[in-house]
Symmetry: C2
Subunit: 351 residues, 2 copies
DNA sequence: CAATTAATGCTCCGAGTGAGCATAACCCAA
DNA sequence: TTGGGTTATGCTCACTCGGAGCATTAATTG
């Protein structure tokens, strides 16, 4: 499922070719593959964006996507790599399937002639150095789409100024509660997702937060998809990150959540790093992904004692201070530990 | 994505209905949904099996599966629940998407008239008490399909007697190695998956192990799908668990791995438990899922101090010894902790 | 040369966890 | 009725890991 460097070739994911069951009553649908292609450049997590023909009510940014044709490509993976290479010139390394969304066709009527499309979201990680080779598309910080997820400079103020009041308003629109918490269903969900009043912020719940905001009409896509319902006024929507075409922002949210989770138990950070790096560069990359800032000395101890890296023997001088030892990813760790990763805690950082 | 009791309604996963992009060059395929419906009865993890018309070379066991028709059902989830209810009478609670496999159609030739089928695997958890209501199908221990995964009575002997020698033989069929470990690629993968000679057994790598065995021709399905390649002799295949139709055993492997991982950071065990239970019953259920046996006193301390359960005040007398306090799942934990689960260690248990 | 900025080494402390010991309270069979 | 078997439950102790901070080293810059 991936060819990245940080993952051992545990399996080739060799193709299974088994007899097909008969699925008689299913209507045929088409398969679209969407890729969230992620890199970190200048300590900023970026994602590859395409923005041709803005046919979708204002949102011109989208993830690269392409069709999957089972006749042409044996597996979904291969199909993905193929059109990504064609479209962008990028040869993907690490690739991971995220989720299959089938709810594109809700508005389908009996007389709807458009084919039904099912979208399979993928996550791909690339090194910043390969970034130049992207022919089409350009890179954008993923926090432009999710400003409330950027905790690197402390708690994002948009949470106070916009999200908390708006969601509170939304939650209070319902009054029934049938749960053991004596809170409305909506209030609970808001608290769980955003950790208001005493709850904890779980940086992995990116998708849950986005879907909640969508449901509350606080992101542009909600307005686009359901103009009949009340959405937040435009001046608020404008502050809630850039919208994307189709359901691409949802897929990107899934991708961010997945990377944030995975970085803790698989050495996927190294997919984003050059072959040699200082420990501080590594830390910056982890922070770009996760958000909060980490304790420097403890981070060193963590990655070194976990055996994730080994010194190359070289030094890097232009650090701005004392020269730093260069390190490289230590592949052997995959043979030693069942789940090697940067096991950093979910930092509360409520400043 | 689920309606189970242990998960907070973080989001309704309200339907997104966005405009469909044009996917012109894709061939239409049909969507099949497969469900691994899991319960624990009498301390045994069981999965719902259907076994009508054994049209598939010997393997008569299969997972329940049904088509997805976007015209009928808004989301994949809803479609799944619908036909599961029709087929088996079960109303699913907790449901989770696993993976989408697209490599059904490799043997497709230009003149192949069968439609291409893509299979989306799902995991569902049910309580043992609801088991009677399954009209069709019957329940089978999942370890019948994966005997090497059952570590509850110590290291399964099939690892010594069959798997290790056969995989060693298979690994030695190649000699090239171009990696920093001085081992062949195959040798590394075998060691990583099965933890031979000093490696650790990671109970979550269920899928990786199955796929490796498939590739090595050590499971019946390999023989079925690729009769042209050499597989292990029948007397060995017979000991390697029951084969299943299509790629259902692969989906079940994915499901087992997912439950084993998820149980540690989400309170999904309680989906498998009755409303009230003793701590030992809870422990037995966790062990049924994970394999190795846990330290009883520490397990108590773990679940109690994590706030996962609360005493009901009742006692259960027929325990075989001293009466035990009854507990129930403490839902409030979801509001308190970001990732509540039975955080048991991967026990090495190499006896 | 002094100030600034990083890199790196080391310590201290407290929470969490693995492993046992010990006791309590039921059932059953002799 | 009593003792053995079995399970429940309380508690201790040692050890590890992770969070936080102090101190020192070594480059750059003005």
């Amino acid at each position: 499922m991936n060819r990245g460097l940080a993952h051992m070739p545990v399996t080739n994911h060799e193709t299974f070719h088994v007899p097909s069951p008969r699925v008689d009553t299913a209507a045929a649908v088409e398969i679209g593959l969407n890729a969230a292609i992620v890199a970190v450049q200048h300590d900023e997590p970026v994602v590859l964006i395409v923005r041709d023909n803005p046919d979708d009510g204002g949102a011109s940014d989208g993830l690269p996507f392409g069709p999957f044709s089972p006749l042409e490509h044996r597996t979904l993976d291969i199909g993905l790599r193929s059109w990504v290479s064609d479209q962008t010139g990028l040869e993907l390394g690490y690739v991971e399937q995220l989720y299959t969304f089938g709810d594109r066709g809700r508005h389908a009527e009996a007389n709807d002639t458009r084919p039904h499309v099912m979208s399979i979201g993928y996550l791909a990680l690339t090194q910043a150095s390969e970034i130049e080779s992207a022919d089409e598309g350009h890179w954008r910080s993923w926090y432009q789409f999710f400003p409330w997820e950027d905790w690197r400079k402390g708690r994002p103020e948009i949470l106070e100024t916009v999200i908390e009041p708006e969601l509170t308003k939304w939650a209070n629109q319902t009054s029934f509660h049938q749960n053991p918490f004596r809170l409305t269903d909506r209030t609970q969900r808001v608290r769980l997702c955003f950790g208001f009043d005493g709850g904890t912020w779980d940086e992995e719940k990116v998708l849950e937060r986005y879907e909640l905001l969508y449901e509350a009409g606080l992101v542009g896509e909600a307005n686009r998809d359901r103009p009949e319902r009340a959405s937040a006024p435009t001046n608020i929507l404008r502050r809630m990150g850039l919208p994307m075409r189709y359901d691409h922002r949802r897929i990107l949210a899934t991708a961010i959540g997945r990377v944030r989770a995975k970085i803790k138990y698989r050495p996927v950070v190294f997919e984003l790093m050059p072959p040699e790096f200082t420990l501080f560069e590594l830390q910056k990359t982890v922070e770009a992904i996760l958000g909060p800032h980490l304790h420097k000395q403890n981070f060193r101890r963590l990655v070194e004692s976990a055996g994730l890296v080994e010194p190359t023997g070289e030094m890097k001088t232009r650090t701005g201070g004392r020269p730093a030892k260069l390190f490289r990813f230590r592949r052997e760790v995959l043979l030693e530990r069942p789940a090697p990763g940067v096991r950093v805690k979910a930092v509360v950082a409520r400043n």
